[in-house]
């Protein structure tokens, strides 16, 4: 575990993705949303920075549909590109 955290720190640049690159069924933690209005809306939905979400489906060239708690949320593709996430390993939460 300690080794992996160290690994995360070492390769921080590489391991930070944006939401549009998350595959179906994968989970991630939200690090930041680069759009003020979207950040507030997402926060109200329960999708705040630090929240763990999973990808329900990806519509080709269209929105990414994520699940945050019990809530499904559709995120437009270009907004998803401005949401920084950290992919979570299976079982990590």
């Amino acid at each position: 575990m300690a080794a992996r955290i160290q690994n995360d720190l070492d390769t921080d640049e590489i391991r930070t993705f944006t939401l549009d690159r998350i595959g179906r069924g994968e989970s991630c933690e939200i690090l930041g949303i680069d759009d003020e209005m979207a950040r507030i809306t997402a926060l109200r939905f329960g999708m705040s920075e630090g929240a763990c979400i999973s990808c329900v489906t990806r519509i080709p060239a269209g929105p990414v549909v994520v699940r945050s708690g019990r809530q499904e949320i559709a995120v437009g593709r270009s907004l998803a590109k401005r949401i920084a996430v950290r992919p979570l390993e299976r079982g990590e939460h």
């Binding site: 507030i40 809306t41 109200r44 329960g46 705040s48 269209g62 929105p63 559709a74 907004l79």
Partner: protein
């Protein structure tokens, strides 16, 4: 019930002195209107316009005034719904906060904000049956303790828990607010007069700050408050909600299938085909065919003509006005009750099914990609579909769009290229006899123009469009009683408005006819109608009628003997022609006079250009 100090809100002014105002607040799609109806019974004062989310519904219950508010995710000033809800909530003596038991992570954000505002609150934990069915267990007593306000489990659609909710209104309490906010709230409240407004000022609400002549707090102050509130919500949910099962239910799979293009597009097409079947064939063909061609044309109209002619001589001015071609006793009821009522009510029925099932936001997700190519995002599908019902309603609903640019584009597209249900009704009735080929060309031409106008606007209109970010409500089977109530309310309001326009329009056209002005207009317009479009000279009458209402305009072609190709040219032209007076007034209010002028010029230009080109392609001219 504890009284709360009133905030001095200039906006609504409908507050009655000495009467407790109970305000319903909640997120969209939590069953707030159903709770409202269950609480207040039948006697309600409904908004003057159907389908809009911004108008308010008022009723009374146990001597209190009850006000329903538009669904919002929080109290602030980000859009019109929020501004309306904000001012009504500020005036409230008691807030009944309706929350969806399935989505407490989302809904309790508003709840805690209401509690932080210091409003005496009761929480209606609605759809508790659905939560249980999907494996969500809520510890209601603990939730009530943590929030510090009464929490009542309800299933509003079944009237369960409503009596308890009614009783709890008398025991509403100010809940446990954010303790860290206390000192700054007390200080701000001493400047603005009440805690609720103080909170909004601290949350950087520009409108509330301005009312008190205070510089609004900057957005970082709001971010701090919001983030802490989010943490509190997560904490409350963590303590009170447990998931017993998380299996992939049928609705979860259906939801995914609705949004994946491979299955979603066929599903959408299937739904449109079904709508066409119900709308175009059963209602327009069957029901309208019977009512308009048999009941009215063969029985009612001749009877009215006989009755009127027994008093006023046939050919006299009064006879023409009452029972002539545009008679207020003949043509007006024929179209109102024989054509428009059956089609509009069936449209609202289908729309209510779509709304209540939760399919609409999924269509928004599916069509996001396509709509973003014309400068919109998936959300715009909602006003566009509503525009198919009534452009006026669609235009008002453009308020949900995130930017001025999107509202500009969506309004123009609806006004130009989206026929409204009343117009479709008349067109469907007219074209029922000419075969599917012409119907296909009609819709094809509209789609080409829709995409063309959309693409041009997407390139030309300055600004940036916002991105899609919407929550998807659970899919559920719509409840027939709820669907029927919505259908009835919306159809009733629609018909009430249409009737006035049809009566005045028919009267005006008859007067123009009697005074000979109509013939003058027809002669003037000959180069356009006969020369360019290949239609008879009387077509000018229909366009004059079209200035009043689009469906009225289309109806003007009924009495002309047109060939199938001429009919198609006429229908395409009248569809693209200017929007009706009612929607022009709304567009004027929403977008300004300059916009209306531009819209008139472009819709008339596009209508005659497309009509003339089509006439040449079809060999009419």
């Amino acid at each position: 019930m504890s009284g709360s100090p009133h905030c001095h809100v200039p906006a609504s002014g409908a507050l009655r002195e000495g009467v407790t105002t109970v305000v319903l607040a909640g997120n969209p799609n939590v069953g707030k209107s159903v709770v409202f109806n269950a609480l207040t019974g039948n006697y309600v004062d409904v908004s003057n316009f159907p389908g809009t989310t911004v108008e308010l519904t008022r009723g009374s219950q146990g001597g209190h005034d009850v006000v329903d508010t538009p669904g919002v995710y929080g109290v602030s000033s980000f859009n019109d719904e929020e501004r309306v809800a904000r001012d009504v909530i500020l005036e409230a003596d008691v807030v009944v906060n309706v929350v969806d038991a399935v989505h407490l992570e989302r809904d309790l954000f508003l709840t805690l904000q209401l509690i932080d505002m210091g409003k005496p609150t009761v929480v209606a934990l609605n759809m508790i049956d659905e939560a249980r069915a999907s494996g969500v267990a809520v510890d209601t007593d603990l939730l009530s303790d943590l929030l510090g306000v009464p929490v009542i489990e309800t299933v509003a659609v079944r009237n369960q828990g409503i009596d308890e909710l009614r009783a709890a209104i008398e025991h509403s309490r100010v809940g446990h607010g954010d303790p860290e906010l206390d000192s700054s709230l007390i200080e701000m409240a001493s400047r603005v007069g009440c805690r609720a407004e103080a909170l909004l000022v601290l949350e950087a609400d520009p409108a509330v700050a301005e009312r008190h002549g205070i510089e609004p707090a900057d957005s970082s102050s709001r971010d701090v408050i919001y983030l802490r509130r989010r943490d509190r919500v997560n904490d409350v949910v963590g303590h009170t909600v447990s998931h017993t099962t998380q299996g992939a239910r049928f609705s979860t799979r259906l939801s995914a299938a609705m949004m994946a293009p491979l299955t979603g597009v066929p599903l959408l097409l299937l739904m449109l085909a079904l709508m066409y079947k119900v709308f175009g064939e059963w209602v327009a063909g069957g029901v309208v065919g019977f009512l308009e061609q048999q009941l009215f044309a063969e029985s009612i109209v001749p009877a009215v003509e006989r009755a009127v002619s027994s008093v006023f001589a046939e050919g006299s001015a009064i006879f023409t006005i009452l029972a002539g071609d545009f008679g207020v006793l003949t043509m007006v009821p024929t179209y109102l009750f024989g054509v428009i009522l059956p089609l509009v009510s069936s449209f609202y029925f289908l729309l209510a099914l779509l709304e209540d099932s939760g399919y609409l936001p999924r269509i928004a997700a599916l069509t996001d990609r396509a709509l973003s190519s014309i400068g919109l995002n998936g959300r715009a599908i909602i006003p566009l579909i509503l525009g198919l019902g009534c452009v006026t309603m669609g235009t008002l609903t453009t308020r949900i769009l995130g930017s001025k640019r999107e509202r500009f584009i969506a309004t123009a597209l609806m006004a130009i290229a989206v026929p409204c249900s009343a117009q479709i009704a008349v067109i469907a009735a007219l074209m029922a006899g000419v075969g599917p080929k012409y119907a296909a060309i009609y819709f094809g031409a509209l789609i080409v123009i829709f995409v063309g106008v959309g693409t041009a606007l997407g390139r030309l209109v300055p600004g940036t469009s916002t991105d899609l970010l919407i929550d998807l409500p659970n899919l559920r089977l719509p409840r027939l009683d709820n669907v029927l109530r919505k259908t009835f309310m919306k159809s009733y309001h629609f018909m009430k408005e249409v009737t006035v326009f049809f009566l005045l329009g028919a009267l005006a056209i008859s007067v123009l006819d009697i005074t000979g002005v109509l013939v003058g207009v027809q002669e003037l317009a000959v180069p356009l109608t006969v020369g360019w479009l290949g239609l008879p000279a009387e077509a000018a009458t229909a366009f004059v009628m079209g200035l009043v209402r689009r469906d009225f305009g289309a109806a003007g072609f009924f009495t002309m003997n047109l060939s199938a190709a001429q009919l198609l040219v006429a229908m395409v032209t009248i569809t693209l022609f200017v929007p009706c007076v009612a929607s022009v007034m709304v567009i004027w209010k929403e977008r300004g006079m300059g916009y209306v002028v531009g819209l008139f010029a472009s819709s008339i230009g596009i209508a005659f250009l497309a009509g003339g080109l089509l006439a040449r392609v079809l060999g009419v001219v």
